[in-house]
């Protein structure tokens, strides 16, 4: 569906999320480079986890009434917890570093385990909205609003300026503390400043992108850049450039293949490390060739125009055969029920068409809309359960769909639909993966098929039910467009 050009268009629905990822990809590797060089990379793993514990802790406090409901919303509340816990964690780890004997790695490992456990416990304690808190902790950067993007840009812009401005001091303090002392005096100020910038980046990054993606951006680009460079300057800019590559192509892969962004980006980052070591081992000429070929292949794949979907055959062309519209199969593992407050349910109840314990689902809405659209296109519609109430939902797999139709003695055409994903992300859009097929029962031919795999915008939705309803309408419109 999307080419590189499409996702780079500012009018693209997920453009703020792309920009947010790119900002993280640009700035985080600069911080991560120093964490790697200072051999404190485990701190880059532990601090995001501590920040995540702060997020779930603040939500728990708010849900239990210890904290008032606050205007800036979920992310604003989470951000306070994230910042607070990050700096408390840094202070405590720093204090223990000064006072304690024993392994620094051991302390970090224990802190990581404790923070991880606390995060889960605070979520479990939370009497409401476990899924919402979990989503927030997963760091759905994809749901970034324009206001949040502005905040992210401002914070990471300041971090970037700090990293560039004090690059010499950070390098000298990290590389040769004795010379740093002779030339610049007490280095503690530079240590504090570096960790302050790291702390701010981590605290904000966790709430915007989640611990996994943030840790990935911190260390993976820098690890990929390290074997390819001979100087600190090129190390920093290459880390940042690889962070950008990871952010952009990871985002593209996530959208195109409908994969979660964090794991996609992290996997791509690991591939970059592997590629970097491969490039380092071969001659510069071959390495250049390999880079050129990979870039060309990636660009070609990314920019290739996708074939427009074939339109649904006209009813006349199919000799006006009966079209059986099967129940929509739900393969998500989730009930996809509309909330009880859904006005559609109340209307149906009032009309006496449904029992009081009945709740409408996305599958019902989708079939109703499909039926209406197909009727408008001149198809003679029948429902399988009108002949036999035992008919289940038909799978989109044509073999099984045809078998089921023949067993139920349905002849003519059958329209099957299967939902693999229907997930509301912060009510701004719904991520959809669904398959639709038009089959002929006589010869088992697939006359038309279409897969919808996209984030469907639901900007006017104020609740989950409305988001589901709006997304169904948009999917049906998209399905028969063109």
């Amino acid at each position: 569906m999307s080419t590189l050009f499409e996702i780079s268009n500012p009018s693209y629905l997920l453009f703020p999320a792309l920009l947010g990822t790119v900002i993280l990809g640009l700035v985080c590797p600069l911080i991560g480079s120093y964490l790697i060089l200072r051999k404190t990379v485990f701190l880059g793993l532990t601090l995001p986890q501590i920040a995540a514990a702060g997020v779930s802790f603040t939500f728990w406090l708010q849900q239990t009434g210890f904290l008032p409901q606050w205007q800036p919303g979920e992310r604003g509340v989470g951000m306070i917890g994230s910042l607070l816990f990050t700096f408390l964690g840094m202070g405590l780890l720093g204090y223990m570093e000064q006072r304690s004997k024993g392994l620094a790695e051991g302390r970090l490992a224990a802190a990581y385990a404790f923070a991880g456990a606390s995060t889960i416990l605070f979520i479990v304690f939370n009497p409401a909205g476990q899924i919402e808190v979990l989503n927030l902790l997963k760091g759905e950067v994809i749901a970034l609003s324009k206001g949040e993007l502005r905040l992210l840009a401002a914070v990471f812009g300041l971090v970037l300026v700090g990293m560039l401005l004090f690059r010499r001091e950070f390098l000298l303090t990290s590389f040769d503390r004795d010379l740093a002392f002779l030339l610049k005096g007490q280095q503690i100020i530079w240590d504090v400043l570096l960790y302050l910038l790291a702390g701010v980046s981590i605290a904000f990054g966790v709430i915007m992108a989640g611990p996994l993606l943030l840790f990935g951006f911190l260390v993976l680009p820098a690890l990929a850049a390290r074997p390819l460079v001979k100087s600190m300057g090129s190390f920093l800019w290459l880390s940042s450039a690889l962070g950008l590559v990871m952010a952009f192509f990871g985002f593209y892969g996530s959208v195109r293949l409908d994969l979660p962004l964090g794991p996609t980006d992290v996997t791509l980052g690991c591939c970059l490390i592997f590629l970097a070591h491969l490039v380092q081992r071969i001659s510069p000429r071959r390495a250049l060739g390999l880079i050129f070929l990979s870039s060309f292949a990636l660009w070609n794949y990314g920019c290739s125009a996708t074939t427009p979907p074939a339109p649904l055959p006209e009813a006349k062309a199919l000799h006006n055969e009966t079209l059986w519209v099967a129940k929509v199969k739900n393969s998500t593992g989730l009930p996809l029920l509309l909330p009880a407050t859904n006005p559609l349910r109340s209307l149906a109840e009032m009309a006496g068409k449904v029992s009081s314990d009945y709740r409408q689902s996305v599958m019902d809405l989708l079939r109703d809309d499909l039926r209406g659209e197909l009727e408008q296109r001149g198809f003679r519609i029948s429902l399988p359960e009108q002949t036999d109430a035992r008919f289940p939902a038909f799978p989109a797999d044509s073999g099984n769909g045809i078998r089921l139709a023949r067993e139920g003695k349905l002849s003519g055409l059958i329209f099957v639909s299967e939902i693999s994903r229907w997930e509301a992300d912060s009510r701004q859009f719904v991520r959809v993966l669904a398959d639709f097929k038009l089959l002929r029962t006589d010869d088992g031919a697939v006359l038309w098929e279409r897969r919808i795999q996209r984030a469907v915008p639901t900007p006017s939705a104020t609740n989950l039910g409305q988001a589901y309803t709006d997304s169904v309408k948009e999917v049906v419109r998209d399905l028969f467009a063109g």
């Binding site: 060089l37 001091e169 000298l172 004795d178 010379l179 002392f181 002779l182 460079v229 100087s231 600190m232």
Partner: protein
């Protein structure tokens, strides 16, 4: 060669009037060296004058590095006083190259330019004047051709000379070198000692270097400071010695 206590050297009148040459760059008076409560050496009295090549000899673990760190202000003396005629930014320090972490991807240029960091503000781009100076100090140590090379890919001797260039970049009054000849082949040892001699003779620098090789120190140094068993004392060459 005559043996003197460090105190005598410090208080002895050297030459005629009180010119710059006669004022010590660093002097230690009744200094006790060590870490926390662990005493390494006590009653150290020492003075370092310009244009002198001073060797610090002693077995491994005798406290040579502790003495250097105290002179450089990296370690506070347990007792006594350390006087310095110039701020610490005028001290050129050459650490053991093995003490530097090879995980840092640093070019020779970046290593040498570090010497100028004390003179350049954070917001400033490194001035071209400093870049030119980096080339000059590399010329002094005969390593300009390695400017763009990776520092940690160089041989031990080359690394040591690059670190000397970095110390020269500081525009020092005194240079302190911690075991500059360890892990270095014979040819490099010779060229490094020649370089140190040249720096004291031509640039008027005081050069204070350490080594556990007493024979070598005796061969090249104007003045020898010995450290062993918690004591520090000075052996001074008779004027017009082998150098």
């Amino acid at each position: 060669m005559q043996l003197k206590l460090a105190t005598d050297v410090m208080t002895s009148v050297r030459g005629g009037g009180l010119t710059d040459e006669n004022l010590p760059l660093v002097s230690l008076r009744d200094v006790s060296l060590g870490y926390d409560s662990a005493l390494v050496a006590e009653s150290v009295n020492l003075a370092i004058y310009p244009s002198r090549l001073i060797g610090l000899a002693g077995p491994n673990g005798s406290g040579k590095t502790t003495l250097f760190r105290t002179i450089l202000g990296l370690l506070s003396p347990l007792s006594g006083d350390v006087f310095r005629a110039y701020p610490l930014s005028n001290f050129g320090y050459v650490p053991q190259s093995a003490a530097l972490d090879p995980i840092f991807p640093l070019s020779v240029r970046e290593i040498v330019e570090m010497g100028a960091y004390g003179r350049v503000s954070s917001y400033q781009v490194l001035p071209s004047e400093e870049k030119r100076k980096a080339g000059e100090v590399l010329d002094q140590v005969g390593m300009r051709h390695l400017l763009t090379k990776s520092f940690f890919a160089l041989s031990g001797g080359q690394k040591q000379r690059i670190l000397i260039a970095r110390a020269l970049m500081v525009e020092p009054r005194i240079m302190i070198l911690d075991e500059p000849l360890s892990g270095v082949d014979e040819d490099s040892r010779r060229s490094i000692t020649d370089l140190l001699i040249k720096l004291t003779r031509k640039s008027g620098l005081a050069v204070f270097f350490s080594s556990h090789d007493l024979d070598m120190v005796q061969r090249v140094a104007d003045q020898i400071v010995r450290v062993d068993n918690g004591k520090v004392w000075v052996e001074e060459r008779i004027a017009g010695g082998p150098l």
